[in-house]
């Protein structure tokens, strides 16, 4: 691939958030930012949209709820009506606990699964790190170097204001 990454390494949360914000508003294309922990405010600085995983979660939870409702009514009133203490066959209040548990179980497992698929996380995946310290104490901004007009000097100058540790070009691009 032609695309190259231009990396800036920082050691402080505030620095990386501010540098990202400045880089983003200067119009550069941010490939990604790598941090050792969840940095709050970074998603805004990067201009990321809120995750749509909440909708996936809602869909899975609704599926679990419907499964709970239909399975119990079908089993209790249609497939094998069972007389328990003369109660009606379709007694919703008694069905609520299982409906609730299925909602939580399928909603929770579903959203985790969706997240793993969406973020392409799976056991045994080849690890690509922009810098060896990124899971320890380094924060890395990775920019997309699109063409020859990309001015690495200007970016470096912009980042230096935020205590840049190191800036480098990287040929390989993660899949």
């Amino acid at each position: 691939m032609d695309t190259q990454l231009f990396l800036g390494i920082f050691t402080n949360e505030d620095d990386v958030v501010n540098a990202t914000r400045a880089t983003n508003s200067a119009g550069y294309t941010i490939h990604d930012v790598y941090t050792p922990y969840a940095v709050h405010g970074l998603e805004k600085a990067m201009g990321l949209k809120p995750s749509r995983l909440t909708w996936a979660c809602l869909a899975f939870a609704a599926a679990g709820l419907l499964l709970g409702v239909f399975a119990q009514f079908w089993i209790g009133s249609i497939d094998w009506p069972l007389n328990v203490g003369g109660k009606p066959f379709n007694s919703l209040p008694a069905y609520l606990p299982v409906i609730f548990e299925l909602t939580v179980l399928i909603g929770g497992l579903g959203v985790v699964f969706t997240m793993l698929v969406r973020a392409k996380l799976y056991p045994g995946k080849a690890v690509w790190l922009p810098d060896a310290g990124v899971t320890n104490d380094r924060f890395v901004i990775a920019l997309v170097q699109k063409d020859a007009s990309f001015d690495s000097g200007a970016v470096r100058h912009l980042w230096e204001e935020f205590n840049l540790i190191e800036a480098k070009s990287l040929a390989e691009v993660p899949c």
Partner: protein
């Protein structure tokens, strides 16, 4: 980091640590290899667990006639242990989910180990109803699946079935929640690992995590969603456990107060167990700067609050027994407090209500030795609470000629001991092989209460520019 700065706020993590130091501190306990103390503790717990395995094998082979049960007392020791262990688990979820939603940042130092405790406690709990079935190899009959017996379905109106759904959902969600929280830390361990085998194990378990902010964004979203699920889930679990009793018509069980009463009691006992474990762990693993005196004091306050609810519930039960003018209800409660099991009742009241009042004293809340002792006292008291509720309500039933007493057999006691052995063996393995403190989360609160702003001129400049833009 700077956003949390205020002179009134005390840093959560003591000692002026850098991010790298946190990684080192937490990883060190895993990388240094097992200590002699660890081997001693593990061997001890493992032997106790073996005692339990022998006892369980014996009672499965011979049958539950080996227990001290009789015609009148059909539920006793086994179900007591079940409710006790499920209750222990609740503190882990409270810390990881409810305190997360309430933005209690101090939870970060203890949530990993408390969640591990939850998972192990629920495993211990699950064993008891399964062996109580007498034929545990037919355990799967409780699951509703199409079968060749009709298909004959399970009874969805039975709280015992709700319990099966509640406990298995709770276990699954707790395990997933715990593992998802663990992934970034496993990646940290992977990037530090020197030996090939360790690196390979961490590489598989960390799912290729590389700290990408896009992934962090999704991860945080899922974390909030799981916390939002786990919060009502944890309340539902012990509510449903309490309905095993409350939906029956036994005086002493048949009360509407049971769900909130059980949930409060579960959190109360769970926090006591968290304190027992944390006070030992912070000393042995040298985490005093992470699990600080402030953490212990805060947990004591939770204990004080939930203990108050439990005390109120005891009083309300007594009041309702009198106020209901139901002679069976009255008898059950008079028998509970003054009958042949009065000793158990008063152990329960003193351990859960009277002695914990000492925690109102700040000096005692901050005394490690005292809090440790208190946590043991509460664990004992809460075990007795379940025993009192279960046994005193049924040992004198509606027909005086069938009144009976209950005494646990050695097999039952060995089973309880064995469950403690299993719990501590699992917890020791966890402390040995998994980052005990959530490295990633603790790093996120490192700046809390610290002024790092002054160090960075560029930050001040950029913030000034931003303000100018906003104006």
């Amino acid at each position: 980091m700077s956003t949390h700065y205020s002179k009134l706020r005390k840093p959560i993590i003591e000692g002026d640590k850098s991010l790298g130091q946190i990684t080192d501190d937490v990883a060190r306990t895993i990388e240094r290899g097992p200590t002699r103390l660890w081997w001693f503790a593990f061997m001890l717990s493992f032997s106790v667990m073996v005692v339990g395995i022998v006892a369980v094998s014996y009672q499965i082979k011979v049958g539950i006639g080996t227990w001290g049960l009789n015609k009148t007392v059909g539920w006793a020791f086994d179900i007591t242990n079940f409710v006790f262990w499920v209750g222990i688990g609740h503190a882990g979820t409270l810390i990881s989910a409810i305190l997360f939603l309430f933005r209690q940042r101090w939870r970060t130092s203890i949530n990993r180990s408390a969640e591990a405790m939850t998972v192990f406690a629920v495993i211990c709990a699950g064993i008891f109803p399964i062996i109580h079935m007498g034929r545990p190899w037919l355990f799967f009959w409780i699951a509703p699946y199409p079968n060749f017996r009709g298909p004959l379905w399970v009874n969805f109106r039975s709280p015992l079935l709700w319990d099966f759904f509640a406990i298995s959902t709770y276990f699954t969600i707790s395990l997933v929640f715990w593992y998802i929280g663990l992934v970034p830390d496993l990646a940290t361990m992977r990037d530090r690992a020197k030996s090939k085998i360790k690196k390979a194990i961490y590489r598989v378990t960390s799912l290729g995590w590389n700290g990408s902010a896009r992934t962090w964004n999704r991860y945080e979203t899922v974390y909030v969603l799981l916390a939002a699920f786990a919060t009502p889930l944890v309340l539902s679990v012990h509510s449903i456990v309490s309905m095993d009793f409350a939906t029956s018509v036994i005086p002493g069980w048949h009360t509407t107060i049971f769900p909130p009463y059980f949930v409060a009691g579960a959190i109360f006992s769970g926090f006591a167990m968290v304190l027992t474990l944390m006070i030992i762990a912070r000393k042995v693993l040298n985490y005093q700067e992470y699990i600080t005196l402030d953490h212990i004091e805060k947990m004591c306050k939770v204990i004080l609050a939930t203990g108050g609810i439990v005390g109120l519930a005891y009083a309300t039960e007594m009041f309702m027994a009198w106020y209901s003018v139901n002679e069976f209800e009255r008898f059950a409660f008079i028998n509970r407090a003054l009958g042949p099991f009065a000793w158990a009742y008063w152990i329960m009241v003193s351990c859960n209500v009277i002695i914990p009042q000492l925690l109102w004293v700040k000096k005692l809340r901050r005394s490690i030795a005292f809090v440790f002792l208190m946590s043991i006292v509460i664990n004992i008291g809460m075990w007795f609470e379940r025993f009192v509720i279960i046994v005193t309500s049924i040992h004198r039933d509606f027909l005086p000629s069938s009144w009976a007493m209950y005494k646990p057999s050695l097999i039952e006691i060995a089973t309880l001991l064995g469950s403690f052995g299993l719990f501590f063996s699992a917890f020791l393995l966890f402390a040995r092989f998994v980052p005990f403190i959530a490295i990633g989360e603790v790093k996120g609160v490192l700046g809390y209460g610290r002024n790092k702003k002054a160090n960075s001129k560029a930050v001040q400049n950029s913030e000034r520019e931003l303000e100018a833009v906003e104006v």
